[in-house]
Symmetry: C2
């Protein structure tokens, strides 16, 4: 449902959260290698995230991407909205171009409540929280990044 760009973004931000500090910034190549995705494509995506203030970056030697104070409250919603446009979740699941109670598709009455819950969750789930869950999870399944396609 998400574009690859969005998947890569989520994956990369989680990796960044768990593996970078202001004193240990990570290059896009480094991240791409770790999570096994195409490096130049990720570089583009990281640029988008930086531009919207979801992650931070510094150019030059010893530069790279990292998370700063400003980034700590960012959510999963922010990442997806930056890369993919969140409207995709608002629209009809079966792709009618209006999704509302007055003109429901066959799936509407089961999709609408799900959609509401999902968006609420995406908006409240911070990157930090998510990274933490991911860290725990990787105790059970340490090929965790390979799992993200």
């Amino acid at each position: 449902m998400l574009s690859k760009a969005s998947k890569y973004a989520i994956s990369a931000v989680i990796y960044l959260t768990n593996n970078s500090t202001i004193d240990k910034k990570l290059g896009s190549k480094e991240i791409a290698e770790a999570i096994e995705i195409p490096a130049p494509f990720l570089a583009k995506t990281l640029q988008q995230l930086t531009k919207k203030g979801i992650i931070s970056s510094i150019k030059g030697p010893h530069g790279g991407f990292y998370l700063s104070e400003k980034n700590t409250d960012k959510t999963l919603f922010d990442i997806i909205d930056c890369v993919d446009d969140i409207e995709k979740f608002n629209s009809c699941y079966l792709s009618q171009n209006n999704c509302n109670e007055n003109n429901p598709c066959v799936a509407h009455h089961i999709y609408a409540p799900f959609k509401d819950k999902l968006i609420r969750k995406l908006k409240t789930k911070t990157i930090i929280e998510m990274a933490e869950e991911f860290k725990q999870n990787s105790n059970l399944n340490n090929q965790i990044f390979a799992v993200l396609t």
Copy 2:
């Protein structure tokens, strides 16, 4: 979420159900025009549906597409599975490549129940039923096919 091909297919099958009979078959151009979608692309999609027995067709003069006895029990699920591959609904909503309880993504616990309900609904909703709903609906909103993008 659905491909355009699938959307077109659903739309066309509904139109066919409500507007064709064995004595009044419809050409692909005719249908495409009525539901305002690209004719040659729809033709391809109708061929796929025919091959899988979801709709019927006859070549030659006065030929065209129509629904026969064999098609009456077909469901929305059948259409989508024919054109798009239903696996797309089974997979993780945030695109992890495994979707299961042991390795849930952030959305899993709200997505899984929705997914189950949806697939059940797609499997039980017959084309006939859907076309009927659509007919009623179009009393309220008679630009109903324009509504399908």
